[in-house]
Amino acid sequence: MLSFLIAEIPRLFTIYNVILLLKAALTTLSLSAVGCVIGLFFGFLLSIARLSHRPIFWPLKALALIYVEILRRVPFLITLMIFFFGAQVLGFNISALAIAFISTSVISTAFVAEIVRAGLRAVKPSQMEAAAVMNFSAWHSFWHVRLPQAWPLILPPVFGYFVLFIKDTALASQVGVLELTQAGKILNTKGFSASLVYGAVLILYFIISYPLARFGAYLERRLGASRHSRPRRAI
């Protein structure tokens, strides 16, 4: 059997197939990256809403809490399916790739919001009190006092989440997005052995993810104090 597989390798790695795999790898990477960047933006908005004390923000606070608590407990596959069929029902004619981008953003917003909130909360209240004493406006104390101290606590876990999410985007193959797993499926359907194709896909995922994970660990060491940034409570 092994000799068959080895004989198959040169047939698998033709220019055409390699380009297919590399393009797919790029899609995989961008799915996670776009999801995390958008997630970071909306996650900030959500956690600012959750951390505010003004009564006007109460409904917003409740909404943010419900969003974060619910979206973190729904499997990515189910979210994908809801958006997939939801787009059909509402009559939007959008591609599977767009649906995957929307679902990754929606899911990662919930997860990143929790990381951002933990980071912002880790800044000592006395810092904000000092800012208030010095007559900083709310915006100034957030931008010049809170954020610079919270940033090193937020960035490493968000990066870690981005690397984790690269692996979750494999599920986007279920709605037909041409990412790495789907490319593996296509090659398998073309007649290449499953063990060879999926083995190659596994290795490609490893090549993408491992350096990023190492870089994340470096970031965590470099910025330090990563211990405080993790959410204390379980999900």
Binding site: R73, L180, A194, Y198
Partner: protein, 224 residues
């Protein structure tokens, strides 16, 4: 935009869905237990085993945490038959999830083991405990107390991960949702119902695990 939601049409399928939920839970619990056993073993090897074994565990953890669970199960379910090893869908998913969980749990437990103070171990030695007693009375209680939030998190993520068993034809919650979807075509209703079921189950799991952590290990885990 002329779609009317009909939750009534899928109401009769609710017992069927809850049966699927039981299979999902069985998958997650079994793979969590398997992963814990393997993970504890690996964590101890990684911390104080032979350097070569320790290096092997490191490679294992790096490989399994840096590749998607879905593709790992693909290799087990579709790839291994090339070598004459056949698994049923349930077994393939269970093995894949266990191996994957073992890698993540090794990291969590290793971090927990690192927080056991050397003085505590010295004290246990002074009291004349042997290695097994030290493990049972000193290391493990401390380990679980520290690692409980991370373990709960991992369990919840694994429960969500069981949804990919549907791709291999295991009829668990998501698999049954796909079945109902193809008989009734009430896609939105069915998938939102399933999402609610997942939320409920993970909430219950969070609360239960927090209570267990408080009761058994006096872990300081907020219940909600």
């Amino acid at each position: 935009m002329h779609y009317v939601l009909h939750y009534g049409q899928i109401a009769p399928y609710l017992p069927y869905l809850i049966g699927g939920m039981a299979i999902s839970l069985a998958l997650s619990v079994l793979s969590f237990i398997g992963g814990m056993v393997l993970g504890l073993f690996f964590a101890v090897i990684r911390n104080e085993g032979h350097p070569i074994l320790s290096r092997l565990v490191r490679i294992y953890v790096a490989f399994f945490t840096n590749t998607p669970q879905l593709v790992q199960i693909y290799v087990i379910y579709f790839g291994l038959p090339d070598f004459g090893i056949l698994f049923s869908p349930f077994a393939a998913v269970l093995i894949g999830m266990t191996l994957n969980a073992a890698a993540y749990l090794t990291e969590i437990l290793r971090a927990g083991l690192g927080t056991v103070h050397a003085q505590e171990l010295d004290a246990a030695e002074t009291l004349g405990m042997n290695r097994l007693q030290t493990l049972r009375h000193v290391t493990l209680p401390h380990l679980f107390r520290v690692a409980m939030p991370a373990l709960t998190n991992q369990y919840i993520l694994m429960t969500l991960g069981t949804s990919m068993a549907s791709i291999f034809g295991v009829e668990e919650l998501t698999g049954r949702a796909f079945n109902i979807n193809s008989t009734t075509f009430r896609s939105i209703e069915i998938f939102t119902t399933v999402a609610v079921l997942y939320v409920v189950v993970t909430f219950i799991a969070t609360i239960l695990l927090a209570l267990v952590g408080r009761w058994a290990f006096r872990a300081r885990v907020p219940v909600l």
